[in-house]
């Protein structure tokens, strides 16, 4: 299957610190989506990026899509305990039916 690598696997931060997770693909992606999974829950859609170099913001969250459309990042400014969970990137590449998820980054925020 398509390889979408995501790092780091785990991240422990103090509340108020920033957090970043990265996704990398060996092939060009048609788009990339980001999801958040709270502990014990199911993944919930956050955002989709389509254009090369695209940057989108949602309050304290900033999403970027690389110029070559092979990598993406999610940055959270001043983390809060409500940010705890696992963040996944996902993409179908140019096969519009398959839909793969990265390995996820588990974020723990200490109050």
């Amino acid at each position: 299957g398509q390889q979408v690598m995501q790092i780091p696997q785990y991240q422990h931060v103090q509340e108020g610190e920033d957090f970043t997770t990265y996704c990398n693909s060996s092939t060009t992606l048609s788009n990339i989506q980001w999801y958040k999974q709270r502990p014990g829950g199911h993944p919930v859609f956050l955002i989709q990026l389509v254009k090369s170099g695209e940057v989108k913001k949602q309050k304290r969250l900033t999403f970027q899509f690389g110029e070559a459309k092979k990598n993406s990042s999610l940055h959270i400014t001043a983390t809060q305990t409500t940010d705890v969970g696992t963040y996944f990137c996902a993409s179908g590449g140019y096969n519009f039916n398959k839909f793969y998820f990265g390995s996820g980054t588990k974020l723990n925020v200490k109050p």
Binding site: S30, Y35, H42, P43, S103
Partner: protein, 112 residues
């Protein structure tokens, strides 16, 4: 509005027993349907996807099978469960390639 139902929420099954997990979608037609498995603390592994009735694509050869007997019904099955089949099984749907995936609540399967 669209909803997705997945059941049961939890399941404990002995090794060698059969499995049937069901997922139904309401409020949309001809969705793409997906089964994922998530091992404890791990990522989401795509198991099967379907673009239409009776059309199943398998991503990983294993002890599981999937069927889509109706447009909005997706079933995950096994004839004989293995210990390694334990995990969190998630059903999801999308209505076209560039829209978000909506997930069911998941089934936590423990094979003992």
């Amino acid at each position: 509005s669209q909803t997705i139902h997945q059941w049961p929420a939890t399941l404990v099954q002995p090794v060698g027993s059969p499995l049937s997990l069901e997922c139904t979608v309401e409020g949309t037609s001809n969705p793409n349907l997906y089964w994922y498995r998530q091992a404890a603390g791990r990522g989401l592994q795509l198991l099967f996807y379907s673009v239409g009735i009776g059309q199943i694509s398998s991503e990983v050869p294993q002890n599981l099978s999937a069927s889509r007997p109706q447009d909005r019904q997706f079933i995950l099955s096994s004839k004989k469960l293995l210990l390694s089949d334990s995990g969190f099984y998630l059903c999801a749907w999308r209505d076209s390639y560039n829209t978000e995936a909506f997930f069911g609540q998941g089934t936590r399967l423990t094979v003992v």
